[in-house]
Symmetry: C2
Subunit: 142 residues, 2 copies
């Protein structure tokens, strides 16, 4: 069996073709595609996201066990985390602890594109660099 | 203490201002910025990456415990995983199991921009959606 699984979701600017509407939950989030299922992920959940100008996450939520990491790759917006409100834009990265109350939205004239990662808080050992192992062989392109 | 930590690394196209050169290891990777330390992540390691045309990961490596997820956000390239070689481009997402031998490179005329996530294989429970908890309150923008 192959040691990988790959997939192409299309261009980032067309992520609004996807809507997250989980069965049995009173929410619908346009422009959100989760990757755990198509990639059969076992370590994290990941979503790719697009909020059009003037839109954003229409409700507050927190998490039970999962830390989140937001990576903003285009546009600008604002986040509210608990009682704090701050600007985000391309290059902004934000770690949010599970218990924090959060929402965010697009404040700009172009799309807000971002990636969100969920992982179980405390599940990563301190040795991420040491987890890599160099292997022999000449890479094809060099 | 705040329930979040944020940071801005600049534009994605300027990620080549960063070089990953871990102490005591015979490698130097231009255009790679790891986020675990600045964001004090406890669940995952994340890097933002830029390979200029004609460049890429100059060696093969595998991992001990960590699954990886590659998210390509701009450009095009190729990956080699074990004995397979395939194209990647904007919208390509690839999960790579720890034991796989891997390298990748830019085959296009523009920058190859991508995000890599590492998480301990098997550390994510099956209940990622159920980890979210709706909270009361009107979001500021709606």
């Amino acid at each position: 069996m192959a040691n990988y699984k790959s997939y192409n979701f299309g261009s980032l600017s067309s992520v609004d073709q996807y809507t997250f509407a989980p069965e049995g939950m009173p929410i619908s989030v346009p422009g959100k595609l989760f990757l755990k299922e198509p990639l059969e992920l076992t370590s994290v959940e990941v979503s790719v996201n697009k909020d059009k100008p003037g839109t954003g996450m229409s409700f507050f939520h927190r998490h039970k066990d999962n830390e989140e990491v937001y990576i903003f790759v285009k546009g600008k917006g604002e986040m509210v985390i608990d009682d704090e409100r701050f600007e985000v834009k391309e290059g902004s990265v934000v770690k949010v602890n599970p218990e924090a109350k959060r929402s965010w939205w697009n404040t700009g004239d172009e799309d807000l594109l971002y990636i969100v990662i969920q992982g179980a808080q405390g599940s990563m050992p301190n040795t991420t660099i040491e987890d890599g192992v160099l292997m022999d062989g000449q890479v094809p392109w060099s």
